[in-house]
Symmetry: C2
Subunit: 267 residues, 2 copies
């Protein structure tokens, strides 16, 4: 299993740890348009900040700019709600055109209550409104949809950065999700390229040589959460450079962060 790595010795255990971690917001990136070369904009922004991308760097990029570039922004005026969407919209007190978009993005409704529509997306993410979102978009009636394949989006950015400046930088695409039981939203990784998103400690031992059991850390989600602290809630900082985290390189995918349904007690 690719996401399970053996960390046998103390030296190897230092992978996934860092005495110091730095996160730098890439400011000065202009408003993104469909078809823009995001990788070039990221390299330019880094250069303006006198940062040269280095091996082992991580770039966390918000879903919103990726959706904009990939044309995943819809004008609600172009959406005709179905009778089902009209009915559900009335129940949820939502715009029926938005409900139409959400149902189009959803493969399964997980909960529909208290004005919330929690759905599973084609990617397997479980989130509010199947990832359909109206914030930070130009135009009164715009809504953004999640990228069709955020892992591929991340991989394309990574490949283009490598072509532009030679550095192999791991890419995470982040989005803001709610969670049961705990209030407030946190950022998670919905697209991954160049790192293994789960740090697996099974088979290693703790400080007292006891085996660590059932310990897999969702480091990609923690990296996305950390980046949100620098990004804030507007898109003026759409990307954050994380330097100093010794991740495990590899062809990780966001689907590695999805709990298999047979181990999910909250379907």
């Amino acid at each position: 299993m690719r996401c399970c790595i053996g960390l046998g010795s103390a030296g190897e255990l230092e992978l996934g740890r860092a005495p110091e971690l730095t996160l730098i917001g890439l400011t000065g990136i202009p408003e993104i348009q469909v078809g823009d070369d995001l990788a070039a904009l990221l390299v330019e922004a880094a250069t303006r900040l006198s940062l040269a991308f280095q091996p082992n760097d991580i770039l966390v990029v918000t879903q919103k700019v990726v959706s904009k570039i990939e044309g995943r922004v819809v004008c609600l005026r172009d959406v005709t709600p179905s009778p089902a969407s009209l009915g559900w919209a009335a129940y949820l007190d939502k715009d029926p055109r938005l409900v139409e978009l959400i149902l189009g993005e959803a493969t399964r409704i997980v909960r529909m209550d208290q004005g919330l529509l929690l759905a599973e997306t084609r990617h397997g993410f479980i989130c509010a409104n199947a990832g359909v979102d109206r914030s930070n978009l130009p135009g009164e009636e715009s809504a953004s949809l999640l990228p069709l394949d955020p892992d591929s989006s991340a991989e394309a950015i990574r490949n283009r950065i490598r072509a532009l400046c030679g550095a192999d930088v791991a890419i995470l695409i982040s989005d803001t999700f709610g969670r049961p039981w705990r209030d407030g939203l946190t950022n998670v990784a919905i697209g991954v390229s160049g790192l293994i998103p789960l740090q697996d400690y099974r088979g290693t031992t703790d400080d007292f040589d006891r085996p660590l059991k059932a310990t897999r850390t969702a480091i990609a989600d923690e990296l996305a959460a950390a980046a949100e602290l620098v990004m804030g809630k507007t898109e003026r900082i759409p990307a954050v450079l994380i330097r100093g985290y010794r991740y495990v390189s590899g062809e990780g995918r966001a689907s590695m962060l999805l709990r298999p349904s047979e181990r999910d007690l909250f379907r």
Copy 2:
């Protein structure tokens, strides 16, 4: 409501954002014993690393060292399981003495399946084994329980650091929780002192002057998650200094991060 702050102008919105954030692991802290002066050990560790605590610094401290200091470590040999614990332990394939401890810490069982015992603690946290944990403890048969009042623990550390070196440093106590739907564990804040754990964007506008709705970020959980990237899964780095995050000062509590049961669709 204390956790709701108005962020009216662009300048104020810069609160909760930072162009650069640094996380530094406090290494060299010795194995913790009951009654140790943790604040003094943290100040000593920072001094050894040539770090002087500054206003606006945040210290994230692991639950495990706080539990050790507060004597919340139990020897399983001293635990006599009840008949109920024996029965449940057989069903879950767990040590019945551990089940006895878990039931003592729990106020409500949320799920009991697949060898997992997911419970609500006296603090209102919903987590595996009601926070009872066997890793990184001396002795073959030790288990740690969550601090009785992690907010008070955090406040005591904060007050003692202020007394020792004059700096008012916000304190978060972190623990590692699982979550539905997504695989892997992430660190969250179970104790808070000196900052408001939710960043509330309601009443503010996005880049296109649209009101931001339903947007509250669990920054304390994101800070705890970020710190985990430096800590790793042993206790050799039991505390991380976070510098550069412009948090909202105030008497925040970990309970602010708990979703009220009437808004919880997954009880």
